[in-house]
Amino acid sequence: MGRSECGHPREFEASPRVRAALWLAGTALGLSLSLSAEAATTLKLVEVITSPERTETLKSIVKTFEDANPDVRIEITSLPWGPSFEKLATMVAAGDTPDVVEMPDVWLALYANNGALESLEPYLKTWQHTGELNQRALQLGRVVGYTAYMLPYGFYLRALYYNKKLFAAAGVSAPPRTLDEFVAVAKKVSSLPGKYGYCLRGGAGGVNAWMMFGALANGSDVFFKADGSSTFTDAGWIKGFSALADMYKSGLAPKDSVNWGYNDIIAGFYSGTCAMIENDPDALIAIAERMKPDEYGIAPWIKGPSGKSFPTIGYTGWSMFANSKHKDLAWKLIATLDGVPGNLVWNRRIGALPIYTAAAKDPLYADARFKAWFDELNDPDVAPMVMPVDLRAWALFASSIVPRTSQSLLLGQITAPEMAQQWAQVMTKAKQSQK
């Protein structure tokens, strides 16, 4: 290009260099177009109980799916565990919904009752593995409206973890089997300087413990009478609540456990501060990393005066959003995640109990440490207790009302009957308005 004598530029003439550049650009454009045509569909998958190890396992299972379906790409979003509830709620409220999401039982009612989730029933009808699922899997997946809005991938059942070293130091020979034994053992351990018997979860997520102690003192885990009113004001429940509160008040649990959440009780346990916690198999992962096998043991949860035990059972699974544009593909993804090879790989990593009847025979679960849970599942006097997660108000009750009121009880600001009364009011309203 140059300027003619009178100052006006000459007509555009592509120099060889410019031509080469244009050719390269064209090729690149063509290539990229053809490449994107290959990865035609992208599915969005969101996990909410994130940890680095979990994400790696998830990615490996997802990869088997991508290999089997070469024109599909899965975009995994891992939400940090702490604020995952708020984050997912914000995304969904703003319309940024994934295709498949990891759905904890506590959140199910909130999303399913608002029509956000797709029913998996039609897919389950034709799925080859549906018959291999154990009873509980389908039953719990259908907790909302008797429709499967999620397919569980595993169960979390509470059992009793105890510190063998502390027991030995306190002169306790065996884990407690009843409520009275529990309190007695806790007293013995607490007499050691700086040690406590029980790691109380006074903060977020403590509702399960209150329910467990309440139910075993009550001899029954029925939450509602036929008319939908709550049973919390029954003497049995109140006895259980008082027993737990009294343990804190008499110093059998650390003073600042009134604020403790999940991480704090696990840390309290493996640091040897308190000797007993009740928790799920996935706590084993964190504990096994920090404690030697001969330092801790796992026993079935204690039984109440009626001879029955009610460890809570929770579950998490996979759900599909109703506004997904690739429902069949999304189901295929869920089927892979929850299918026979995928589910076992997943549960091996996250430590949940299996959804397949046959999987109980997997070598993972033959490990001595899982014995306690399988004993519980096989014991007729043990009735795993399902929380009323079908209630829309349960999430608020569990995450906000229970910590606040139970802390008031622990601190002596209110009495157990008063707390039970407040809980009953909230629960009754929740149940009756849901009808």
């Binding site: 708020e86 409220a93 604020n259 606040r404 802390q407 601190l411 600001q413």
Partner: protein, 312 residues
């Protein structure tokens, strides 16, 4: 600037009018970028957020959204939790801001003098501000924890507390933790802004005053304070607003507990919004907080204008 002086002589009227328009619009040119950005990015969502206060917005319920008028505000008037949170907010904000302001000002005065090692000291004492609040909360929660932190043991040894329990676990003392953390984090803010303002006070004012025989205190009161006043007003105002509005430290250290003893209005809004999922009610609480803070801001700004008028 530009072409020769022929232009201005040949078209005087147009250029003069143009110049007057230009000078009239001049302030808007300078402030336009900030204004436009703030309107677009903050005020639009803010008005949407405020409008929720008059509607029933349940976060996950796509069918909610109906207009409810002042219902939320009526509910708020009778809400005991809100009143408790308001009281906590006053204590939390008042104690935090007052203490970090005082300590920050003292630090600025100390740093205003040249001494060997000043640059190093300055760099060190400003570090807390660089730590994200979430990490600050965790760090201080650990410091107060009797199992992993030194503070309970020291406080007990110094006879300040009568046991080695965690301050954060008792309703009467729980708020102390976040307050201390907030002070630690906020001192650099006041120190830096006051130091920069102190440096702009002409040194010869002090020289003249000491020649006249004024004591250090008198110089401080009659020279330093009045000249610092504009900066003080703005920084105190903004810091108060931020502390009142930010729940991070409290949420991380105590989660509003135990038994809501550290629940402030900001953390209460969070609870209502993201646990009860009731954005309408949460927004009405936020609106009330907004009004209270606005009144406070007006008070401070009028005070500032008074001081500046008295100066001139």
């Amino acid at each position: 600037m530009g072409a020769g002086h022929d232009q201005s002589e040949t078209e005087p009227e147009v250029s003069a009018v143009g110049r007057r328009l230009a000078t009239g619009a001049e302030p808007y040119f300078y402030t336009a970028p900030a204004l436009l950005l703030i309107i677009a990015v903050m005020l639009v969502p803010l008005s949407v957020g405020l409008s929720y206060a008059f509607r029933d917005i349940q976060l996950l319920d796509p069918f909610s959204g109906g207009f409810v008028g002042f219902d939320h505000f009526r509910e708020l008037k009778a809400d005991r939790n809100f009143r408790a949170a308001l009281l906590n907010t006053l204590i939390w904000t008042g104690a935090s801001v007052a203490l970090q302001f005082i300590f920050g000002l003292i630090l600025a005065l100390l740093l205003n003098r040249e001494f060997p090692g000043r640059r190093l000291v300055q760099a060190l004492v400003f570090l807390p501000w660089a730590v994200p609040t979430f990490l600050v909360g965790l760090d201080w929660a650990w410091l107060f924890n009797p199992v992993v932190g030194p503070l309970p043991g020291w406080l007990f040894a110094l006879k300040i507390t009568h046991d080695t329990n965690n301050l954060l676990a008792a309703p009467g003392t729980a708020l102390i933790g976040p307050i201390v953390a907030s002070i630690w984090w906020g001192i650099p803010f006041f120190a830096i802004t006051n130091l920069a303002a102190l440096q702009s006070i002409p040194k010869d004012l002090y020289e003249a005053a000491s020649i006249d025989g004024a004591s250090v205190f008198k110089q401080f009161r009659s020279i330093t304070l009045p000249l610092l006043a504009p900066t003080l007003a703005i920084t105190i105002l903004l810091r108060t607003v931020w502390v009142a509005n930010f729940a991070d430290l409290i949420v991380v250290m105590t989660n509003g507990g135990p038994a809501d003893s550290t629940q402030t209005v900001a953390s209460y809004i969070f609870t209502v919004a993201f646990r009860r999922l009731d954005f309408g009610y949460a927004s009405s609480i936020a609106a009330v907080l907004l009004i209270l803070l606005f009144i406070y801001a007006l008070a401070i700004l009028s005070l500032r204008r008074l001081i500046m008028q008295r100066q001139s």
